[in-house]
């Protein structure tokens, strides 16, 4: 049987790089002096400076993960944790420095803003360079701004929620994040306000040997709803770049939040991101996640279902090619009665890439009548790639319905044969099977990303059957 060739992700649209031209770049490494300098550069209030310094202490105490991908290539002495681009944050693209504006033009962000988004934030290296939102949302009390502005203008809200959902001692890279965080988005949706079209933040890391540590804090109040899209990319350099962002989501009673991420980091990127949501009574958070880029990813969004009747869904796809080790998955804690979770994960590995699905479903003693259903499927397209499934299921009460199923394998020859017996060519049959495999995920992606993903899944067949 001929091999099905699935092309690597075409990265040309992401790999263009600008000159490493910045307003300020902190020296490489991670010391108290550096953390204090970042705090000074950002004009932090005292309480934020204290969080940073406490986090640095914790970072130094915690050990590196003893599981998952090998992170030995990461040397914090070679990473600059803060790079301020030229220009101030603007609310008009015209006011963004030309080279940076061109970058986001090429990524299609301003076009999407015009056609399908209610608001856009754009971060370049360590700072947000552009933020805007439709007028009618401002009138309804929606706040969508960069985190620095939020710290300055809404200190009480930020103090109440910042690093509470994700505590700074959660793991080593959360502590790192809290020590050197910069940029990111703050969204506040007041009670009962429903956004019909999404907000999008895009994160671009241009500077070599640097890190991006943006903090996203979203609060969706009771009965409100929001779709938030996060995109990220970077050009490829020879040395390691680091992304250790943090996303904290608070979804109030009866509220709804959909958080979509399309991650397309370059293949020198270590993507060690942390995302968590706390979900209230009868509320729902849905995660849609596409992981295509990075050299190493460790990314496991988490839903904590604290309110009775809370729900969560995770829909994710990973595509690992050459030199990629994508260790992704999902964690959910059922911490109230009648909660439910649905997980649907797919992965494709080829050309020596490694995909790992790693997860946790924990149903606590008080989560009576909860339900959880997990499905993960892995497709391998050659015999030198790797695909692992490592799910942990922790069930602590009897009044639950829990099921988990996983499968691993290559494109089924029987299915190809069946389709061919219906008059479909072998090439078309294989293309159909791979697209069908990815379809449950791609249909959940924002439409422009779904189209892009389908274009990326471009089958090229070689040889003949035999």
């Amino acid at each position: 049987m001929a091999k099905t060739q699935l092309e690597e992700i075409n990265r040309n649209i992401y790999d263009f790089k600008n000159k490493d031209d910045y307003d300020y770049k902190i020296k490489k490494g991670l010391t108290r002096e550096i953390v204090e300098e970042i705090s000074k550069q950002k004009n932090d209030p005292d309480w934020m400076r204290e969080i940073r310094l406490k986090a640095l202490e914790i970072y130094n105490q915690l050990e590196m993960p003893t599981w998952g991908p090998d992170l030995s290539e990461l040397n914090m002495d070679e990473i600059a944790t803060y790079v301020r681009p030229k220009g101030k944050m603007a609310s008009s693209w015209e006011d963004v420095p030309e080279e940076i504006r061109n970058t986001f033009d090429k990524l299609g962000i301003p076009d999407s803003e015009k056609t399908s988004l209610a608001g856009v934030g754009a971060q370049y290296d360590s700072e947000v360079v552009y933020h805007s939102m439709k007028e009618d949302l401002i009138k309804q009390g929606v706040i969508y701004t960069d985190m620095e502005t939020a710290v300055r203008e809404y200190p009480e809200i930020v103090k109440k929620y910042f690093m509470k959902c994700v505590p700074i001692n959660d793991h080593k890279f959360v502590a790192l994040h809290a020590a050197v965080w910069s940029g990111g988005s703050f969204v506040y949706v007041p009670k009962g306000v429903k956004l019909d079209i999404p907000l999008q933040s895009y994160f671009r890391l241009n500077s070599p040997e640097s890190g991006q540590f943006e903090h996203t804090l979203i609060i969706v109040e009771e009965g409100a709803s929001l779709h938030f899209i996060e995109g990220c990319s970077a050009p490829k350099y020879n040395k390691v770049n680091l992304h250790a962002g943090c996303v904290e989501l608070y979804v109030g009673d009866n509220a709804y939040l959909r958080y979509s991420t399309i991650e397309n980091w370059s293949k020198n990127m270590m993507n060690l991101n942390t995302k968590k949501a706390i979900v209230g009574k009868n509320a729902q958070v849905d995660w849609v996640s596409g992981s295509f880029g990075s050299h190493i990813s460790m990314l496991y969004p988490m839903s904590i279902l604290n309110g009775e009747g809370a729900k969560t869904e995770y829909t994710g796809i990973s595509f690992a090619g050459k030199d990629q080790n994508l260790d992704t998955g999902f964690k959910v804690i059922h911490n109230a009665p009648n909660t439910s979770s649905v997980v649907n994960s797919k992965s494709i590995s080829k050309n020596g890439g490694k995909c790992t699905y790693r997860s946790l479903v924990r149903i606590m003693e008080n989560a009576k009548n909860s339900k959880s259903s997990v499905s993960c499927e892995s497709l391998m397209l050659d015999d030198f790639s790797i695909s692992d499934t490592i799910p942990t299921n922790d069930i602590r009460t009897d009044e639950v319905e829990f099921s988990h199923e996983a499968s691993i394998g290559k494109i089924s020859e029987k299915t190809i044969f069946y389709l061919m017996s219906r008059g479909i060519s072998e090439e078309d049959a294989k293309a159909m099977i791979v697209r069908g495999f990815a379809y449950p995920i791609s249909k959940e992606l924002p439409v422009e990303y779904a189209v892009e993903m389908n274009n990326l899944i471009n089958l090229e067949l070689e040889g003949a059957i035999g």
């Binding site: 998952g68 015999d383 299921n393 988990h404 499968s407």
Partner: protein
């Protein structure tokens, strides 16, 4: 209390998930006296069985973690060299009592080419068959599993080599009492077209740690692992099953069925690892845990690791209480709830029990199951 990490998974996951190993806190005896209550029987007389077998130094790729004690202090060393071609039984029974409390055993089973064997290895507390002072219910006969006037300790390793075209069935029955400690490793190598079926009944001990490693080395090597467990009180059951497929068209099937009552805890770690070159290998792993109490806990880590494209691997896991509709249906036929639950647990265990050809053994397992579920 000193903790010893046992049953480490072949691949670690997040430490906070608390499943990479078990912290074993039961006392590990430093002195192992002789153990005399061993019965060995074979129906054909054609197989060679050596007691006091002086085994060579061995290494296990994955093990429980207490292999050194076996190397240094084993008080039972048995080798079974299978030569016969019938499925007549070989039975090895270890009975614990007040004079035989500590067993460290090494059993080596070598099935020669084209042979057939059906081996029982039983670890049990001796049935006293009398009403004793410690009996909770004086009207009942003592149960080996439930009757616990003393603590026994068992650490054992069963090594199996299934040579080409051999068919081996090994039934491992743990009916130790509810105060005891059980640590058992099973390490097997399965060659071309050989078939190894492991039936594991894990009903006994306060803490039961079982490590099963299968090396499917040969082409069309076949391994079926059927396991049933039953936990009550505060028992802890930790299972670490690892199968590595090296041979082309090799097949591994793991089916684990269990039930937990009271505050019992179960950890199941199952790994199927498709190694590069095991083309057309297949692997299936199913784990199902029936929770009969809202304080019982089920922790599972069913892993699929894959470095070969041309394979098919599946796993499934489920947990939850007995289906209300099924309970209702049985109760509508005149049974009380406890009997209905018992029937459902028995139904789950049936496929393994049906595979046990020895009727006496089957009855004993059923009796102990009923005692535990009462």
């Amino acid at each position: 209390m000193e903790k010893v990490k046992l049953n480490q998974t072949p691949v670690r996951t997040c430490r906070n998930f608390k499943i990479n190993n078990i912290d074993f806190t039961d006392k590990i005896p430093s002195r192992i006296p002789d153990f005399h209550n061993v019965k060995i029987a074979q129906e054909t007389g054609k197989d060679e069985i050596i007691t006091d077998y002086e085994f060579d130094n061995f290494e296990v790729k994955f093990g429980s973690g207490l292999e050194d004690q076996i190397k240094e202090q084993a008080n039972q060393k048995i080798k079974i060299d299978v030569k016969s071609k019938t499925d007549k039984e070989i039975k090895v029974e270890f009975d614990f009592d007040e004079e035989n409390l500590k067993l460290v055993d090494y059993i080596e089973i070598v099935a020669e080419e084209n042979t057939t064997s059906n081996i029982y290895i039983i670890y049990r507390n001796k049935l006293c068959n009398e009403v004793q002072d410690h009996c909770d219910d004086p009207s009942q006969r003592c149960s080996g599993v439930q009757c616990a006037p003393y603590k026994a300790y068992h650490n054992g390793l069963i090594r199996i080599v299934a040579n080409n075209n051999s068919k081996v069935v090994v039934n491992i029955i743990n009916l130790m009492n509810k105060e005891s400690s059980n640590i058992l490793g099973v390490d097997s190598k399965i060659e071309d077209s050989a078939k190894l079926k492991l039936n594991i009944v894990d009903f006994g001990a306060k803490t039961s740690v079982t490590n099963v490693y299968s090396n499917l080395a040969g082409k069309e090597a076949n391994n079926l692992i059927n396991s049933i467990y039953l936990g009550t009180d505060k028992e802890v059951i930790d299972m670490n099953y690892i199968a590595e497929c090296f041979g082309e068209k090799s097949n591994i099937n793991i089916d684990v069925q269990g039930a937990l009552k009271d505050e019992a805890v179960k950890h199941f770690k199952g790994t199927i690892d498709f190694k590069k070159g095991c083309k057309k290998a297949t692997g299936n792993e199913a784990e199902n845990c029936m929770l009969l109490s809202d304080k019982a806990k089920s922790l599972a880590l069913p892993m699929l690791l894959c470095s070969e494209e041309d394979v098919e691997g599946n796993h499934s896991a489920s947990s939850g209480k007995a289906d209300n509709k099924e309970i209702f249906y049985i109760m509508s036929r005149g049974f009380d709830k406890k009997s209905a639950e018992k029937l459902l647990v028995r139904a789950k265990f049936n496929s393994l029990l049906e595979g046990i050809s020895n009727q006496e053994m089957k009855q004993e397992i059923s009796y102990e199951m009923d005692q535990k579920l009462d």
